[in-house]
């Protein structure tokens, strides 16, 4: 079981299954809150991001919350494959973030539109930041566990 790169999706122990339910609950609550807030902003004529990026950032915020909780609570439905996912997300996020910052600093693209809404580039910077945050939380938990493991594993 431990040597497989991608374990069966349901290969979680009883504690992890309970906590996974809590994570999903938090994600759904956040999703509803953000959708409701977005609806009220639209009703007031406020556009906070260009085009479809409003919806994408809402989705990414929920994904980030859930995956951060997964990392903190050490819920890894796909075993070692989760490490690959976190690293890939972090790498893509870093690329998006750096490219966005370069584009804005060089004046190629605006950070915000005339009405104050986040431009496409601004939204990509935010998305990149969220993706990098996932990798940072994952790595931070690994470092914390490594330091604790020698203390906990006394025989």
């Amino acid at each position: 079981m431990k040597n497989k790169l991608f374990r069966c999706r349901n290969d979680l122990d009883e504690r992890q299954l309970l906590q996974r339910g809590d994570v999903f609950q938090h994600g759904i609550i956040l999703f509803f809150v953000l959708l409701l807030a977005n609806a009220f902003l639209k009703e007031g004529g406020i556009v906070w991001a260009e085009g479809m990026w409003e919806n994408l950032l809402i989705i990414w915020s929920v994904i980030t919350l859930c995956m951060c909780e997964y990392a903190v609570k050490e819920i890894y439905p796909m075993g070692g494959g989760m490490t690959v996912i976190y690293v890939l997300e972090g790498a893509c996020g870093a690329f998006l973030f750096i490219m966005g910052v370069v584009e804005v600093s060089m004046g190629w693209e605006p950070l915000a539109l005339e009405g104050g809404a986040l431009s496409r580039t601004g939204a990509q910077i935010v998305q990149g930041f969220l993706m990098v945050l996932l990798l940072l939380v994952f790595c931070g938990k690994k470092v914390y566990n490594h330091r604790k493991e020698t203390q906990d594993n006394e025989t």
């Binding site: 122990d13 009883e14 504690r15 906990d152 594993n153 006394e154 025989t155």
Partner: protein
């Protein structure tokens, strides 16, 4: 819920690390940590598996200490 020191002592007496006990009963090390710290109440099924792995009874490992 307080710490389960009896479990920790039994695991140490059996010469098992937390990872070793976790592997023996089919859970993660973090679950064993949570049980020993008192942060998680295992199901009866898991309690039985732990007892079988350590050669102890349910009373010896999981019955609460009498409060004075």
């Amino acid at each position: 819920m307080g710490k389960n020191l009896k479990l920790k002592a039994a695991r140490a007496a059996a010469g098992l690390t937390q990872q070793g006990l976790a592997d023996a009963v089919g859970v993660t090390r973090q679950t064993i940590v949570a049980i020993e710290k008192g942060d998680y109440n295992p199901t009866v099924k898991l309690c039985i598996l732990i007892c079988q792995s350590l050669g102890k009874t349910l009373d010896e490992l999981f019955w609460p200490e009498a409060q004075e």
